[in-house]
Symmetry: C2
Subunit: 75 residues, 2 copies
């Protein structure tokens, strides 16, 4: 599995749970499909910058916050 | 034009010039095609997270640094 996708999925799942959102609720807020959120969290989809922007807005944070946290997960 | 893509392109062009790299040199370092770098800088392609990672490495910076700068370009 692509480590970058997996690391991103882990960050998104963590942030979603911290926000108290289900995958369905996050999907609705981000205008994405809940199946896609599930695939992102499992690290089997590579998000585009546009998806990252939508997720950040839906999670009430910035893209920079998400991606800086992602950087910290590097080996 | 999609403002997000345009803003990303502006950040990448600025960072590339600061690094003293041509589009061709950045493309080589990032293992991307120089035509693709040109399209990114002109805001006509939406990068994936994988491309952002490659660009950050090639520019000697972090994804978080690039994306935090991108956040600052928001209206």
């Amino acid at each position: 599995m692509d480590p970058l996708k997996r690391r991103f999925g882990t960050v998104i799942r963590k942030r979603r749970l911290e926000a108290g959102l289900s995958q369905e609720a996050l999907a609705h807020k981000a205008r994405l499909h809940s199946t896609y959120i599930s695939m992102l969290e499992r690290g089997i989809r590579m998000p585009t910058l546009g998806v990252i922007d939508s997720l950040a807005s839906a999670l009430g944070t910035t893209m920079g916050s998400l991606i800086t946290e992602l950087d910290r997960t590097a080996d």
